[in-house]
């Protein structure tokens, strides 16, 4: 319960931000907050609060897993820092690069392969796997 008190502002904000499937669980002195939001800004806001409560995330007492990735069957924007996003043959960085999606390009999300990888199609018809973290719901 002490950790829920420490991260109270974050938990309250998650509730206000209408995080779907929100769960808050404490186990072995680590707090686990899981949920899904529909836009990247809501996720960034929650992470900013986490960074404020625990500067540079040093305490190792919270796992914040907020999924803001684009759902299958929707459009997503490529939100890399500035570079192009590799499109790969399979879900993994060991897989061959078969194309690129430009920074800020809008792509179609066909399915999610796993926690990290999504199968996408570009407007030019190139299909392959990209790292989900760099996709934001468009």
């Amino acid at each position: 319960m002490a950790l829920q008190e420490k991260y109270k502002e974050l938990i309250n904000a998650a509730q206000r931000a209408s995080v779907r499937n929100l769960t808050v669980t404490e186990s072995d002195n680590v707090l686990y907050i899981n949920g899904t939001v529909s836009d990247g800004q809501a996720k960034d806001d929650l992470w900013n609060i986490y960074n404020k409560i625990d500067p540079d995330f040093r305490a190792g007492d919270l796992i914040l897993n907020i999924d803001a990735s684009a759902a299958a069957g929707t459009k997503a924007k490529v939100t890399t820092e500035s570079s192009n996003l590799n499109i790969r043959k399979g879900p993994g960085t060991d897989q061959e690069i078969i194309g690129k999606a430009a920074h800020n390009e809008i792509v179609s999300v066909l399915s999610k392969a796993n926690e990290q990888w999504s199968l996408i199609r570009t407007d030019k018809g190139k299909e392959g796997y990209v790292y989900t973290q760099y996709l934001t719901q468009a």
Partner: protein, 120 residues
């Protein structure tokens, strides 16, 4: 006969007005009951505000190791190791890139993340 009927009307009105009066009384009682229901509802809201708890799912080390390779690929200078679900990050990173890396690692269902990165 006629006299009895005529004298009976006021009695009918009297009975009707008593009946209507008692109905009115009942409807105000109902309103009071609703109000008291409303008083109890904030307690329900408080219960709903408590988010659900869930069983904590921790990724196996082999799976975590594979996922970490992908997660840190775009962060040269960062090393990630895992032992029984506990991920330790070492090396160097800039402060502006740290949140994105942490988001990525936190999404892999680790048991814990020890951030031992040097921030440049």
């Amino acid at each position: 006969m006629k006299i009895k009927i005529n004298s009976g009307w006021p009695i009918v009105f009297l009975i009707l007005s008593i009946f209507l009066g008692s109905c009115k009384g009942r409807s105000s009682e109902t309103t009071n009951a609703d109000t008291s229901t409303t008083i109890t509802s904030p307690a329900d809201n408080t219960t709903n505000k408590n988010p659900d708890t869930a069983t904590v799912v921790i990724s196996a080390d082999d799976s975590l190791r594979n996922m970490l390779t992908d997660a840190i690929k775009d962060y040269p200078g960062v090393t990630a190791t895992t032992d029984q679900g506990v991920v330790t990050l070492t090396g160097n990173i800039t402060r502006e890139k740290l949140p994105k890396l942490m988001m990525s690692v936190n999404a892999l269902h680790p048991k814990k993340v020890n951030n031992k990165l040097t921030i440049k």
